[in-house]
């Protein structure tokens, strides 16, 4: 078995591992690095449960090879809270019950964070299009969209 030697940064920490070519970034995060917050829903890019940020781009970790992430900077759900201090999106999701079973939640949170970093004042349509690659079987999306909009509103208030 030919393995590739990979160096990358995950949530600010340097990590190093040997990776089989067929292992995806999601396999590496979950099985090698024990970061099981990113979920595996479909493994085909359709559900967004595996969403992570790779070099400032939102991607599906199931559609990136571990080997491709060599030299890369990866941000996952595990890096979202600041120690015990939840990210405002996480706090709002809890307050507004924007989750039920929770399997889609890490993906939605990472995707919503990527949106707000690019566009701090999104319209509802922009939120819905941005999150179109994240599927949720439980909530019907409304509470998720509202939580993202309310977080944006709140963060604007803080940064003023």
């Amino acid at each position: 078995m030919v393995k590739t030697h990979v160096n990358m940064t995950v949530n600010g920490e340097a990590v190093e591992f040997l990776c089989e070519t067929k292992a995806t970034l999601l396999d590496v995060l979950r099985d090698e690095l024990d970061l099981t917050g990113s979920k595996e829903g479909c493994s085909s890019g359709d559900c967004g449960a595996c969403s992570v940020i790779l070099d400032d781009r939102l991607v599906c970790a199931c559609l990136v090879l571990g080997a491709e992430a060599d030299g890369g900077n990866v941000e996952t759900i595990e890096g979202m809270a600041d120690a015990d201090q939840l990210h405002p999106l996480q706090q709002k999701f809890l307050e507004e019950a924007a989750l039920q079973c929770g399997i889609c939640t890490p993906g939605f949170l990472v995707a919503a964070k990527a949106l707000l970093e690019r566009n701090s004042n999104p319209t509802e349509t922009e939120v819905r299009y941005w999150l179109a690659g994240n599927l949720c079987r439980c909530t019907g999306y409304d509470k998720i969209v509202r939580a993202v909009m309310d977080t944006a509103e709140e963060m604007k208030g803080v940064s003023k």
Partner: protein
């Protein structure tokens, strides 16, 4: 399965030549990794082309845009001057998948996956884009419409790959548009796609046009008969009706759960009309 990520075109060509066909080029991986997972592909080598600088940039040379084959859809969408000159090409690329897919999907992968329903391809064909292709024998030019030949099959040699797409110089009063029909608003495969690109004279008469249709034949079609209905004319209902008829006549679609032959044929004409109206409007504004 090995993984290689060369930094020069020469290294990449050598690796392709050495691998005797048991290799897959890896760009964004949004088609290939799904196929790998499904067991449809099992190459001995994955050759990642994303570290080749020639494939990763968008440049203007002698007034022509060169789009690297491995640039992502998101990068194309963020390129203001490309979007200004070729809104149809950029919009077509941006239709692909979700935000997550946009961060990875490339025009080279969209073309070389050779799906007749690939969204960026009719827009590139209408634009008159030419690919630079490299291989052991050196480099050659290939029109985009000559790359995909049937579902999953390209005309590229075993040791060849696409470096970039070159778009022609943009004269004043030119405009392009791409529209697709899908049963939902996001995340679906085109039932029909139509790309129209026109150049108008100062008087609004069309002096040059290209029309392309996706998902209505085993490969993306360039439809010269449809373009000929536009050239030499101003846009009016009669011209649109002839464009519609020429598109319908060119269709050779399949029947499947997403659309019947009759439906796809009719929609091709409707989409071509609408895309032509947008392309003329855009051309008139410049």
């Amino acid at each position: 399965m090995r993984y290689l990520s060369p930094h020069t075109i020469n290294e990449a060509v050598a690796a392709l030549a050495d691998s005797d066909g048991d290799v897959k080029i890896l760009a964004g991986g949004t088609d290939l990794l799904v196929q790998l997972r499904a067991g449809m592909k099992a190459p001995g080598l994955m050759l990642d082309v994303k570290r080749l600088p020639e494939l990763r940039s968008i440049n203007v040379e002698k007034n022509c845009f060169h789009i690297g084959a491995a640039v992502s859809g998101a990068e194309m969408g963020e390129h203001e001057s490309l979007k200004g000159s070729w809104p149809g090409v950029v919009e077509a690329m941006e239709l692909i998948g979700s935000t997550q897919i946009q961060g990875r999907a490339t025009p080279g992968g969209n073309l070389c996956n050779a799906s007749p329903a690939a969204d960026s391809v009719p827009a590139m064909v209408a634009a008159g884009a030419i690919c630079t292709v490299v291989g052991s024998e050196g480099s050659r030019d290939l029109a985009v419409e000559d790359v995909g030949i049937s579902p999953g099959q390209t005309s590229l040699g075993r040791d060849e790959f696409v470096v970039d797409f070159r778009l022609p110089e943009r004269p004043p009063h030119s405009g392009d548009a791409y529209l697709r029909f899908i049963p939902r608003t996001e995340m679906d495969i085109a039932v029909v796609g139509a790309g129209v690109n026109v150049v108008l004279g100062d008087d609004g008469v069309c002096v040059d046009a290209r029309v392309s249709l996706g998902a209505v034949a085993p490969r993306v079609l360039l439809v010269p008969d449809a373009a000929n209905e536009l050239i030499g004319r101003k846009l009016n209902d009669e011209v649109l009706e002839k464009l519609d008829a020429a598109c319908r006549a060119a269709c050779r679609p399949i029947d499947d759960k997403r659309g019947t032959v009759e439906y796809r044929t009719q929609v091709s004409g409707v989409l071509a009309r609408r895309a032509a109206v947008i392309a003329f409007e855009r051309a008139g504004e410049k």
